[in-house]
């Protein structure tokens, strides 16, 4: 029997090289196989990398949320905004039950929301400092304490304001060249004129508060560098989060202490949006030079950064008061060996960089100038006022302390994972518009103190406008006594105490949770775990929707799926073409060989022999060229595995789960490729084989014409 197969394979091999069309078929098969191997392996590697990115940063392996939610969960945001989710009922119970499911390691409560951060502009901040300095000086003077230092501080802040005014006057002059005279606000022009006169500043100390009021009301609005910053954040049990997602690391500052309210900025956003723009541009030029091997001379983006730094010195000038301006001038003149008296000109000279002097200038900036500046608009340790629209549509604001910044290892540069901050669950709940136990108590006290009562809708008109109902309170003219107004509210608790308060794990968990990340001890157990949790939810009436990280991450998670779809579409087309071409070629070959086939049948070959001969021929062709294609694919993958593929843009970081991806070839892709070849060979040859099988042995007896 072995000899029988040997001759079949030999016939197959020899027929293989007998016609040119086989070479064409072979090349199609080889290319198709290579595509399957390389494409499949690449996508699998991407899938793995993305799964690391997604499961390791926000999603965990599984997400659960209320089945009553209006929208689907989308961890990284939906098409327009964050989806509207219903709260999970009784999270502590859910957590307790989920932890009993095999392979479940942790369950982290979450809620995703977005908020606007408002920061005052440079003038506001400087004026606030000036007002503080004036107050301190006056207080010291009143109490007879030495006030010389404080007076100097006032003068320094005054000089700072005067410098800002100078910049604004220059701006206005430039603007008047460009703009129509009607477009200039006369009131603003007049105010600027007033505050840039000597008499105004000479008279400042006689009535500092009136002068400050003019500056605050008329001048500050002229500076438009105040920013609203959109922050997306996950409200979570920060301790549990830090334990569950071990790729997360705190970069600046410290983790939020256990049980405290607090906020952690994503490092990426902190650098990109909160850092002084000039400094950020310097960082990016340095990155381009040292990490990406670019040159200023050869890269238009770096050239743009240089130009912008040269032109946009205003941001720095506005930050420096008189004292600091002098210091800055002295330091920079020394470093640049110049003798310049105008700071903007000197700054422009500092930022006039090329490939030779850049590293030197970079060092000068950070060593000499940066210590005089606020490099970040929000500093670690600052109290942040976060304003957000609650579910019911009104604006709620909460003060949280910024404890630091964090990043995910390997995803440092990914905008996708770098724009979601971390917030404690308590603050999240306040902002989301759900009443925490604290707030409920506070409202009860308020209600009792104010005598407010619930009024049914049908009685509202009578209660409000008519009838002889008792009047709750008479409005009286009089000054507002803050202390008295807030006394019933436990004022202390409302502000500073909330920040300092330490919540117990029970308090953190017992409240509104929108979704929860389930982290498994074995990622391979994902399908079983999803099944087990779904069953548990149904049995215990938890009302949970259970989704894998792919589903939970919305469009992002489907990316690999979509890419796979495209790949397999292309592969299908290639192999359909292969099927048609092979079918055609084999038909031709069969028809040309009827006499040989007939002879074989006459001599005593059974039909099954003929069928296996024809099938084997295509199979040998497929396997031979398929192996060549697979080998080429494996070689490509080996090369890619060794060198890796660098992320060509920040966005790609997330998909690569790091700066480079080292894709590897799994046996599955090769097996898949060979299975496809097998199917293609058999399908394409079935009909020719059938024809060959039916060749009558009588054909052998017919003389060749």
């Amino acid at each position: 029997m072995i000899g029988h197969w040997v001759v079949l394979v030999q016939i197959a091999f020899r027929n293989l090289f007998s016609s040119f069309i086989n070479l064409v078929i072979g090349v199609i098969i080889a290319v198709g196989t290579m595509l399957v191997v390389v494409g499949g392996a690449m996508l699998d590697s991407l899938d793995t990398a993305m799964s690391r990115s997604i499961t390791g940063s926000l999603a965990g392996h599984i997400q659960v949320y209320s089945a009553a939610s209006k929208d689907e969960l989308a961890i990284y945001g939906g098409m327009t905004d964050d989806p509207s989710l219903a709260a999970v009922d009784d999270f502590p119970k859910v957590k307790r039950l989920l932890l009993g499911v095999p392979h479940v390691k942790t369950v982290v409560p979450m809620g995703i929301n977005g908020a606007l951060l408002m920061s005052g502009n440079t003038v506001d901040l400087t004026l606030a400092k000036l007002r503080g300095a004036v107050k301190a000086r006056d207080a010291a003077t009143a109490s007879g304490a030495p006030a010389a230092d404080l007076a100097e501080q006032v003068d320094s802040q005054k000089a700072h304001i005067r410098q800002i005014v100078k910049v604004l006057v220059e701006d206005a002059a430039k603007a008047s060249v460009l703009a129509d005279s009607h477009a200039v606000d006369d009131e603003a022009k007049q105010a600027l004129a007033t505050v840039s006169t000597e008499p105004f500043w000479e008279g400042f100390d006689r009535d500092p508060y009136s002068a400050l009021e003019l500056l605050e009301n008329k001048i500050a609005p002229l500076v438009s560098d105040a920013d609203m910053l959109y922050v997306r954040y996950v409200g979570t049990d920060l301790d549990a989060y830090q334990r569950a997602f071990d790729r997360m690391q705190v970069v600046d500052g410290q983790p939020v202490p256990a049980g405290r309210r607090g906020f952690l900025f994503p490092k990426f956003q902190y650098e990109e949006q909160l850092k002084l723009k000039t400094a950020r541009r310097l960082d990016r030029i340095k990155e381009g030079l040292t990490e990406s091997g670019k040159t200023i001379a050869g890269d238009s983006e770096l050239q743009r950064f240089v130009r912008e730094n040269q032109a946009q010195t205003r941001e720095i000038v506005l930050q420096l008061d008189g004292l600091k301006t002098r210091t800055a001038l002295a330091r920079l003149n020394a470093a640049l060996h110049s003798n310049e008296t105008d700071l903007p000109t000197l700054l422009t000279r500092l930022f006039t960089t090329d490939d030779q002097n850049f590293m030197d200038r970079y060092r000068i900036f950070y060593e000499q100038l940066a210590p005089l500046l606020e490099l970040y608009r929000v500093r670690i340790g600052d109290m942040l006022t976060v304003k957000a629209f609650t579910r019911s549509g009104y604006v709620q604001s909460v003060n949280v302390k910024v404890y630091g910044t964090f990043e995910f290892k390997g995803l440092e540069k990914s905008p996708l994972s770098g724009v979601t901050g971390l917030m404690d669950l308590m603050s999240f709940r306040d902002l989301y518009g759900y009443l925490s136990a604290d707030k409920r108590d506070e409202l009860r006290v308020l209600q009792a103190a104010s005598g407010a009562k619930a009024v049914a809708r049908e009685n509202a008109e009578a209660e409000l406008f008519g009838g002889g109902g008792p009047v709750v309170a008479e409005a009286k003219e009089g000054s507002i006594d803050e202390k008295a107004q807030l006394s019933g509210l436990k004022k202390a608790k409302k502000s500073e105490d909330l920040v300092a308060r330490i919540y117990t794990p029970g308090e953190i968990e017992d409240g509104v949770v929108l979704n929860a990340a389930v982290v498994l001890d074995d990622p391979k157990a994902l399908p079983q775990a999803i099944k087990a949790i779904s069953e548990l939810s149904a049995k215990e009436h938890l009302g949970l929707k259970v989704e894998s990280w792919q589903q939970a991450s919305g469009l992002l998670g489907e990316f690999v799926l979509a890419a796979k779809g495209i790949l397999y579409f292309a592969v299908t087309i290639i192999f359909v073409v292969a099927v048609v071409v092979i079918n055609n070629a084999m038909m031709m070959a069969t028809l040309q060989r009827t006499q040989t086939l007939g002879t074989m049948r006459a001599i005593g070959a059974q039909r099954s022999f003929i069928v296996s001969m024809v099938l084997l021929e295509t199979l040998v062709l497929g396997l031979l060229f398929g192996s060549a294609g697979a080998a080429a694919g494996a070689a490509v993958m080996a090369k890619l595995h060794a060198t890796g593929i660098g992320a060509w843009s920040d966005a790609v970081y997330f998909f690569f789960s790091g700066p480079r991806i080292y894709p590897s070839l799994g046996a599955g892709n090769v097996v898949a490729a060979f299975l496809i070849i097998l199917v293609v060979s058999v399908v394409s040859t079935l009909y020719p084989a059938l024809i060959a099988m039916r060749v009558s042995p009588v054909t052998a007896m017919q003389a060749e014409e």
């Binding site: 001759v7 020899r14 006459a602 001599i603 005593g604 059974q606 039909r607 042995p697 052998a700």
Partner: protein, 241 residues
């Protein structure tokens, strides 16, 4: 000597569209083991049809064909194929060697289909036959590298390699010049005498048929008569082309 082929009143008709073309119209004959028989007749007389029926590659429309004692009409396609493989050797007018196989492999092919012998035994058998047809030195050649006569010798070797009881040859010399044709007939005759294999061959060449020890004359699908055993015997007038 027993009868190896027994044909009784066989009719064979072909259907060409709606037209029925009779190829054999009631043929009866008997061939005994060890005979060297020629079927003679002009083109279209039904020689090839008759050989097809004897060779079990085709079935009769009516009548009875028995080969090696088996009624071919009662056999399945598979059984007929096995019967061909084990009992009958074929030599074709245009040699019909498998172009992609070597001389050795062509001769070995039927043995491989049988799958009974081990490689060493197969080799001995094939080489012995190639030796007998004078081509042992050409074992590794491809058919395309051989002359017509050499190819037909290979075909003879292939037909005999399974040691069949019966060898059918359809116009084995038609594509050869007369000297080479003579050689092939001599070879067949020698093998017939040496091994006792029954040969039935069709021809319309008088010189070739003169080697037969019996000649069945065929015309218009009918047997006109049997002559011989003679060497150089006069051919009946009605059988002349």
């Amino acid at each position: 000597m027993g009868s190896i082929v027994s044909i009784d009143n066989v009719v064979k008709e072909y259907h060409l569209g709606k037209v029925i073309v009779p190829a054999l119209r009631g043929v009866s004959l008997e061939v005994h083991e060890g005979e060297f028989i020629s079927i003679a007749g002009p083109s279209g007389s039904g020689k090839t049809t008759l050989l097809n029926l004897i060779g079990c590659v085709d079935t009769a429309t009516s009548g009875k064909v028995e080969v090696a004692g088996r009624d071919t009409a009662t056999l399945t396609e598979r059984q007929r194929t096995s019967l061909r493989l084990d009992t009958i050797g074929f030599i074709f007018q245009s040699f019909n060697l498998v172009a992609v196989l070597s001389v050795f492999q062509n001769v070995e092919f039927p043995l491989l289909l049988q799958g009974r012998l081990k490689a060493a035994d197969r080799k001995a058998q094939v080489m012995s036959l190639l030796d007998q047809v004078g081509l042992s030195s050409h074992a590794k050649h491809r058919p395309s590298e051989l002359s017509g006569g050499q190819r037909q010798r290979v075909a003879v070797a292939r037909a005999l390699v399974t040691e069949p009881k019966l060898v059918l040859a359809d116009e084995p010399t038609a594509n050869l010049d007369s000297a080479t044709g003579q050689n092939i007939i001599d070879l067949m005759k020698a093998l017939n005498q040496r091994r006792g294999t029954t040969f039935i061959f069709s021809t319309h060449d008088a010189k070739v048929m003169s080697h037969a020890n019996a000649i069945w004359q065929l015309a218009d699908g009918k047997i006109l008569g049997k002559s011989g055993p003679v060497a150089g015997a006069p051919i009946p007038a009605e059988a002349r082309p």
